[in-house]
């Protein structure tokens, strides 16, 4: 592992995430049963299988190319709230990667652009009990640890994301389907924050 990321590692990240999603699909759907409509696991699983198929089918010269394809694939195959949100994330993320190797700082810029895409689409703020509750602290932790290198930054991001996910659990949802439950949404872990943390953990395991 060097201090820059190759395209092949981005592919590994996505393959690993697809596997993790597949293993955790039932758990994610279970979380979505409590405060949603029992489909987050199957949505993400459908999307990431399509991503893996796209990886098999194509050659990607750059991270930018790769994530454009991935973003479009997710937008076109997931549906629901998570489709446009994850889709937009990867489209914006890829758009910032450029052509060359990606170092810790560049990855941080791309991640931030991705998350800004999610916010633009979904208009959620921290505390609304959505995936943003995982992403916002993750970005901060990433930036703080980026000087220590990719590995440290990604690990810090995953850990802070998990903390944000857990901090949102007692909250009452204000965005997404869980918001319809009102007070009853409190005490349940958010499915999208959960799948976001899985994505960060997969990044830590593959990109550094």
């Amino acid at each position: 592992m060097g201090d820059t990321i190759e395209v092949a590692q981005f592919s590994d990240w996505m393959r690993r995430y697809a596997g993790v999603i597949h293993e955790n699909a039932a758990m994610l759907t279970e979380l979505d049963s409590a405060i949603g409509d029992a489909d987050h696991g199957s949505n993400m699983d459908r999307g990431m299988s399509a991503v893996v198929a796209a990886l098999e089918a194509g050659e990607f010269a750059s991270g930018a190319d790769l994530f454009k394809k991935i973003g479009m694939t997710l937008v076109s195959s997931v549906g629901g709230a998570s489709g446009p949100l994850y889709g937009t994330f990867f489209l914006r993320f890829g758009g910032k990667l450029g052509d060359g190797p990606v170092d810790a700082q560049a990855l941080g810029v791309a991640l931030r652009a991705g998350v800004e895409g999610i916010v633009q689409r979904g208009k959620a703020e921290v505390g609304d009990k959505t995936m943003i509750d995982a992403w916002a602290p993750a970005l901060e932790a990433y930036d703080a640890a980026a000087p220590d290198g990719l590995d440290a930054a990604l690990r810090a991001a995953a850990e802070a994301g998990a903390g944000g996910r857990d901090a949102a659990t007692p909250l009452v949802a204000r965005k997404g389907r869980a918001s319809y439950l009102g007070e009853r949404s409190a005490g349940h872990q958010d499915p999208g924050a959960t799948s976001s943390v899985l994505l960060l953990e997969a990044a830590a395991a593959t990109l550094a």
Binding site: G80, A81, G122, R184
Partner: protein
């Protein structure tokens, strides 16, 4: 999970195969995009109406495609919004030059996917407008939340706006009408049982024999609160009271009323409920101009029902009575 299906992952596309052979005289199915088209779409000069959403609400939306109602319906996975590609295929497929109205139920996923599709369609220069239905009084409306869900009013709106589009109104007029109807539509629902999403394989929630969920949407979600099981008369009150409180109209007005089953409640119970609802409306001085009683916007096999009221004036009653020929709603032709 006991369902008459072949593969939980393939429920929607297989149902579309059945719809196609059952209604091939009126409908055409784009299987790649999972879009149900009116057979004669696009109709030149007519505003195209496109709706769609997760599947599992049958007959909505595919069953509302046809003369006097929708031109196309996009079928997402069960309870999952369709993707922009589907809406784009539907939009370009129904545009007869007069533009296309997207009828969107207010769920984060539906709204975002339709938004992305509209952006893409605008690039290809189809004129696209959209109306977002948000009629569920169980949900507090607020600037800081996702807002109210779109539920029963969607059905009545698709019928009424469908008649207007059929009669040749412009995209502006049709959009204005749709917005106006949404403004006078209110709904509230309850569930006696959960449903089981095929891919999930087990009931979304558990409910005791003496409980029901009040303030549900249409995706099998738990409701706003859990209350003790009660009689039809009290259940009607639990649904009608919050609607009446929220109505931007009242005594002396007349409505189009729907008592809708969630899929697993027998018609005999829905008629009992309709009797109770009608009595409550009468007490409130509200006249029912037209009504629907049956399973029109469902949550798979969930037991339960919802009440929807849309304020009716002469124009709307005229649009209501206009011919409609869809698998789910048909008269006058």
């Amino acid at each position: 999970m006991k369902k008459l299906i072949n593969d939980p992952a393939d429920v929607v596309s297989q149902a579309l195969l059945g719809m196609e052979v059952a209604h091939g005289d009126r409908l055409r199915v784009d299987h790649e995009h999972k879009v149900v088209f009116r057979k004669d779409a696009p109709r030149s000069g007519k505003v195209g109406l496109v709706s769609g959403g997760g599947s599992g609400h049958e007959p909505m939306h595919g069953g509302y495609v046809g003369l006097g109602m929708l031109d196309a319906a996009c079928c997402g996975e069960v309870f999952t919004s369709p993707v922009p590609d589907q809406m784009l295929a539907a939009t370009t497929g129904v545009d007869g030059g007069a533009g296309v109205l997207h009828i969107v139920k207010n769920y984060t996923g539906d709204v975002m996917n339709f938004e992305m599709a509209a952006e893409l369609a605008a690039d290809g220069d189809v004129q696209v407008r959209s109306v977002v239905v948000d009629d569920d009084v169980a949900v507090q409306d607020s600037l800081y939340t996702a807002g109210r869900r779109g539920v029963g009013t969607t059905v009545l709106l698709e019928k009424l706006v469908g008649a207007a589009a059929e009669s040749g109104r412009s995209l502006d007029e049709v959009t204005e009408l749709a917005t106006r109807i949404n403004g006078v539509g209110r709904s509230m629902g309850l569930a006696l049982t959960s449903c089981t999403v095929p891919a999930a394989g087990k009931p979304t929630f558990e409910l005791g024999d003496d409980e029901m969920e009040l303030g549900i949407g249409i995706h099998g979600e738990p409701g706003r609160k859990r209350v003790p099981m009660t009689s039809a008369a009290e259940a009607a009150q639990l649904l009608v009271d919050p609607i009446l409180t929220d109505l931007p109209y009242g005594t002396g007005d007349s409505v189009i009323a729907m008592v809708n089953g969630m899929g697993g409640t027998p018609l005999i119970e829905l008629y009992i409920m309709y009797g109770e609802v009608q009595r409550l409306l009468e007490k409130a001085g509200i006249t029912v101009a037209r009504c629907l009683v049956g399973n029109y916007i469902t949550s798979l096999e969930m037991a339960g029902c919802s009440v929807t009221l849309v304020k009716a004036d002469d124009e709307l009653v005229g649009l209501w009575d206009a011919p409609v020929n869809t698998p789910g709603l048909r008269w006058g032709v």
